[in-house]
């Protein structure tokens, strides 16, 4: 009976067994009644405030200059500022992130070291730290290491843009890969939280930091074997750790395979990319220093300083400047009559609809892209000029074939992974007139490969180009 009464008064579908006893039932009734009173009280309070507000409205009509108006203004200000504070606290509250920074230095060190120690237990879910301090610092360190890489690889002046690239690449990878992996983990029914994926990916970047730093500091001139070894060891260990974590938290062979495969591929390829995209210059520099036999065209141009192949820039710098590349071409490399060259490029430009802006430049620097396309090596054409021309408009269309004096070897990364030299030139040289070639170059052009010859007295630049044309990726000639 008591229980039945209780159910009626409570009006819930759930029968609270503790209230089945007589004594307890009474207590619950009382508590419910009191809470009901509270509820009534609150409602009364709300109506009271609304009443006061109603009372104020007619007063508005009477005039705001009086004391009433002033007090109302004060109230509006107070409410407004309170609401603003609430909104601010809600959206800009860094306290949301505070729990993820709650670590001790020793723990961070331990986690750093344990990223290279895979745990073989996959039957039970492995413990993953959900912390953001470590990964954030690691990403910043990676950016610093990339800067070091870029600087030691070549002489660059536009540090700002390099920083932007490095920032974008590192943070983009961290967040992008984490998002992708979390998405796949979600599909594959993995028992892992987003913040854990973020943390895991971030910590695994320690391998990248270590490998890149050591790779740059101790890079051997002739081969990449040292890098590959470190790539396999450090990259492999950290990948293995991540893979085992994912495996321990996923069930089902296919799901495991998909998730771990994606993770491993992305992680290892990113390390390769970072190394080759920002590192080519060292190689080229060394190769250039070792190759003492200049090719024919080079020797003809040793007295031409390259300041800029960009038509506008060059004219700004020195209106009387002779186009260095054009001279080179004239000096004997050219087997193609200039007219034909110009015609070809004009035609290509016209196709691209770029003729207007680049009329002069096309004529003036048929060879300009010589610089740009450092990576001409890929070109199937035997004739250097054609390559140059093909690439030329491509590069120029980009707008800044060469802030030569500036030269950001590192910039290749913009828009295109390290194969810039490779991918780009392939497009160009295979004669894909190109919006594609053009656009690609355009994207890359910010700091495009052509720039690398920058800053270099002419012969070296051309020599380097020639060297590269021999089939070396990497036009990063930088210096």
């Amino acid at each position: 009976m008591a229980a039945f009464q209780q159910n009626l008064s409570e009006a819930t579908a759930v029968i609270d067994m503790s209230t089945l006893e007589d004594g307890a039932g009474l207590d619950d009734n009382i508590s419910i009644a009191s809470s009901g009173e509270e509820f009534v009280d609150v409602r009364k309070r709300e109506t009271a405030t609304s009443d006061t507000l109603d009372e104020v409205d007619p007063a508005l009509a009477k005039g705001l200059t009086g004391a009433l108006g002033q007090s109302m203004a004060e109230q509006v200000w107070k409410t407004g500022s309170q609401q603003a504070k609430k909104a601010f606290n809600l959206y800009a509250n860094i306290d949301i992130l505070r729990p993820y920074f709650d670590v001790e230095p020793r723990k961070v060190m331990k986690r750093l070291l344990s990223t290279f120690v895979p745990s073989r237990i996959i039957s039970i879910p492995q413990k993953v730290a959900s912390e953001l301090y470590g990964p954030l610092m690691i990403v910043f360190t990676l950016i610093a290491v990339l800067l070091y890489n870029m600087k030691s690889s070549g002489h660059t002046v536009r540090e700002g843009t390099l920083m932007g690239t490095a920032f974008f690449v590192c943070f983009g990878y961290w967040w992008g890969t984490s998002a992708l992996l979390y998405f796949i983990a979600y599909i594959c029914n993995s028992h892992i939280a987003a913040i854990q994926v973020l943390s895991l990916t971030g910590y695994a970047l320690v391998a990248h930091c270590v490998v890149l730093f050591l790779g740059t500091a101790f890079h051997s001139v002739s081969s990449h074997s040292m890098f590959y070894l470190m790539w396999a060891i450090f990259g492999g260990l950290s990948t293995l750790k991540m893979v085992l974590v994912y495996m321990s938290r996923t069930s089902g062979q296919t799901q495991r395979l998909v998730l771990t495969g994606t993770c491993a591929v992305l992680h290892l390829l990113f390390l390769l990319y970072l190394h080759f995209a920002y590192h080519n210059i060292v190689e080229d520099l060394d190769q250039t220093l070792q190759l003492h036999v200049p090719r024919a065209p080079v020797s003809l141009s040793h007295d031409i300083p390259i300041r800029s192949t960009h038509p506008v820039i060059r004219r700004v710098i020195d209106p009387q400047a002779v186009n260095p590349i054009a001279r080179v071409q004239e000096l004997g490399k050219s087997k193609v009559p200039k007219a034909r060259v110009e015609r070809d490029t004009k035609q290509q430009l016209f196709d691209l609809g770029l003729k207007d802006g680049l009329d002069k430049s096309v004529h003036d620097e048929p060879g300009a892209e010589n610089v740009n396309m450092a990576a001409v090596k890929q070109s199937p054409h035997q004739d250097g000029e054609e390559n140059r021309n093909l690439v030329q408009y491509g590069g120029q269309a980009a707008g800044k074939p060469g802030d030569l004096a500036i030269g950001m070897p590192g910039d290749q990364a913009i828009g295109m992974p390290g194969d810039q030299a490779i991918g780009k030139t392939e497009d160009q040289t295979t004669g894909k007139p190109g919006d594609q070639a053009n656009r690609k170059l355009g994207d890359q052009a910010i700091g495009n490969p052509g720039d690398q010859a920058i800053g270099m007295p002419g012969d070296q630049a051309i020599q380097r180009l020639e060297d590269q044309a021999m089939g070396k990726p990497g036009d990063q000639v930088g210096k």
Partner: protein
């Protein structure tokens, strides 16, 4: 049981209060408030001179980071950091105006300010006691040694056309000194505001920030060909 829990809360309540007490010296503020009320009517020259003096005093504090000096923290202002940042960004520009110009300046400027903001956020998230602008102010002022090093580097670069290894070594050592000084000064001011066991966590981003700035300085050489 209740007594022990109250005791613990008393202790934890007192700790932040003590820290607040140290930073805000009870004697000073009322005087400043009186001044504030009357500064609207004073001639502009006085205001400017006063601000300049305050900035200069803070520069001196940075160059001699003593543990006791708290004026950097108490009366924070962003004039000094702004001046330093603009100067550094201008000096780090490339020489070739046609090629460089605005973007480069903007990049350095953005890096300095965004870096200061990020380091501040990090120290706050780690449980630091300073307010946002105080930290930004300190980090900005502590760029002073590095900017002095930058000026010295520029002088060295401008002095001789050919850069020998000796000159490079001089530049390197100067920048290294500036970097160490900046980091040490920043640590002296910001270190006490962090929980003791997390000092290293807060110091590392500061180290990285000044390291990147030093890197920009040391790698900046004249680009005229």
């Amino acid at each position: 049981m209740a007594a022990t829990s109250v005791d613990v809360s008393d202790v934890t309540d007192q700790v932040p209060l003590d820290v607040e007490g140290d930073i805000t010296v009870p004697g000073a503020p009322p005087e400043e408030d009186e001044e504030d009320f009357s500064t609207l009517d004073e001639p502009v020259k006085e205001t400017i001179l006063r601000d300049l003096k305050a900035v200069g005093k803070k520069f001196v504090h940075v160059l001699n980071p003593l543990k006791g000096s708290r004026s950097l923290l108490r009366e924070w202002d962003l004039w000094g950091p702004l001046v330093l940042c603009v100067m550094v960004a201008l000096l780090l520009q490339g020489d070739n105006a046609a090629d460089t110009g605005a973007p480069q300046f903007a990049e350095v400027f953005v890096i300095l300010w965004v870096g200061a903001v990020v380091v501040t956020l990090n120290s706050q998230l780690l449980g630091g006691q300073l307010s946002f602008f105080q930290s930004v102010c300190v980090l900005g002022y502590c760029v002073l040694p590095l900017s002095i090093a930058l000026i010295v580097c520029r002088i060295i670069l401008a002095a001789s056309a050919t850069q020998t290894i000796v000159l490079f070594a001089i530049r390197f050592v100067t920048v290294l000194l500036g970097f160490a000084w900046s980091t040490f000064a920043a640590m002296a001011f910001l270190g006490d505001s962090q929980p003791v066991n997390r000092k290293a966590l807060a110091v590392y981003p500061i180290f990285l920030f000044y390291f990147i700035i030093s890197w920009m300085i040391i790698s900046h050489t004249h680009s005229d060909t």
